[in-house]
């Protein structure tokens, strides 16, 4: 079986982090597409307007976003994106400091797949995709 390819959505308010993230994602060789957004609302709009195809989408969202935080985004996503579309997205949280409270809060949302430390590393990303495959 060929390794699965994914769409990617990266949400981070730092231009540099978006740039680095995109490099890593594209460099993994397993991205069908990669969209970066500096605001959660723009990313949400994109998700709402895109249609489902053969590939699942991996979302990487920074927790500490202004206005709509990463957690707000997930809440908004779970509430407004209908099934079965919702399950074609795999949401992962990005943080530069893993915090116990964040961990606890993330358990409240069924659509959180994993916590990733910033900056995103290629092997971590590939490991994440492999786990989704099996």
């Amino acid at each position: 079986m060929a390794t699965e390819q994914f769409h990617f959505i990266l949400i981070d308010d730092s231009k540099l982090d978006c740039f680095i993230g995109e490099k890593i994602i594209v460099g993994s060789g397993r991205a069908v597409s990669c969209h970066t957004f500096m605001s959660t609302s723009a990313a949400f709009e994109h998700i709402q307007n895109s249609s489902v195809d053969a590939h699942r989408t991996i979302i990487l969202v920074d927790i500490q976003m202004p206005l709509m935080t990463g957690f707000d985004f997930i809440e908004h996503f779970e509430k407004n994106i209908p099934e079965p579309k919702q399950s074609t997205y795999i949401i992962n949280l990005l943080t530069s400091s893993v915090n116990q409270n964040d961990m606890i809060q993330s358990q409240r949302y069924k659509s959180v797949n994993a916590f990733l430390n910033k900056p995103i590393k290629k092997d971590v990303l590939i490991d994440l995709m492999d786990k989704l495959n099996s």
Binding site: F19, I20, A42, Q64, L67, S97, K118, P119, I120
Partner: protein
Amino acid sequence: MDTTEKIKVLYIDDESNNLFGFKAAFRTEYNILLANSATEGKALLQQHPDTHVIFCDQRMPDITGTQFFEDIASEYPDPVRILITGFTDVAAVVDSINKGQVFRYLTKPYQQEEIHAAIEQAYKYYMTGFMLRKKNEELQKANEDLDKFAYSVTHDIRGPILSILGALEIMKQTQSMEELHSICNMMEESALQVNDLIVNIHAYYSLQRGTIEIEEIDFKNLCQELAELHNIQLALANIKLTITVQQVETYHNSRVLLHLIINNLLSNAIKYQKDAEVNKFVNLSVQVNNGIATIKVADNGIGIETKYLDKIFNMFFRASESSTGSGFGLYNVKDALLKLKGDILVCSEIGKGSEFVITLPGK
């Protein structure tokens, strides 16, 4: 607490004679409240939750003194409770003292000196407990603030540094000069962001710990100095800064804090401009009238959504998605104004611009 304030004593007894006798003996020294039933006592406590000492007779027709103390203990934990009993009740009282609901008891008939000593002793006990609780509350709040602070600071400082490290990794494998150049620009932005945050944290700590030095303020001179700090940014972004100062009288205040306040508002007005706007402007005006300075900073920038207006002064709040702010600037402004007993008002319309108006009485 004001130490010159009289000790507030509530005396509950179903015999009016005892009540009046008590008041007559102690009213010059203490602030005496009288109740001739438990119900009345509770009503008085509701009005005077700051009561220091409560005396209650054990034998009353509706409920006993020990029951009364048991009833009020959870709602009014602060007042020190003293039971007045006849000799025969002593055995029944021991239990309630052991439960911690009664501080001590006095037996009837009592001597004035006994009451006197009991009140003084109880008040000391009250103050110790009261201060301890107060300090504990303050400490708890300080700890919570510190947690929040540490969390945000680690995120906000570590974030950009990690980004820069990540970018360096990519640079090592990049050949294109053009791309290297654009990575450098982004790295610079991240480095400036950390620097900005650290400057603001420093300002925050000076505000919290520093003493305020009052000096004569020449607003013209202060505004000029502030404008010079922003000259380069103003020129780069093509923003017209207009300064008007009307000051004929002398005015005294903290120059350091005024500098911090106006500088933050100016930086914001410059930072949050609309890229597409052709006639970008920032107006800074100061008027000093009857010892009160009115400082206005207005711009035609991106504006602030109405629903965020009451949050913009909160620590770490950022009201703009495009913002690279630290979420610290306006918090410091508000804090500084609180210290100087000044006021700030904000009018803003999204897409049109913002105006901040400060009124600050001189010292």
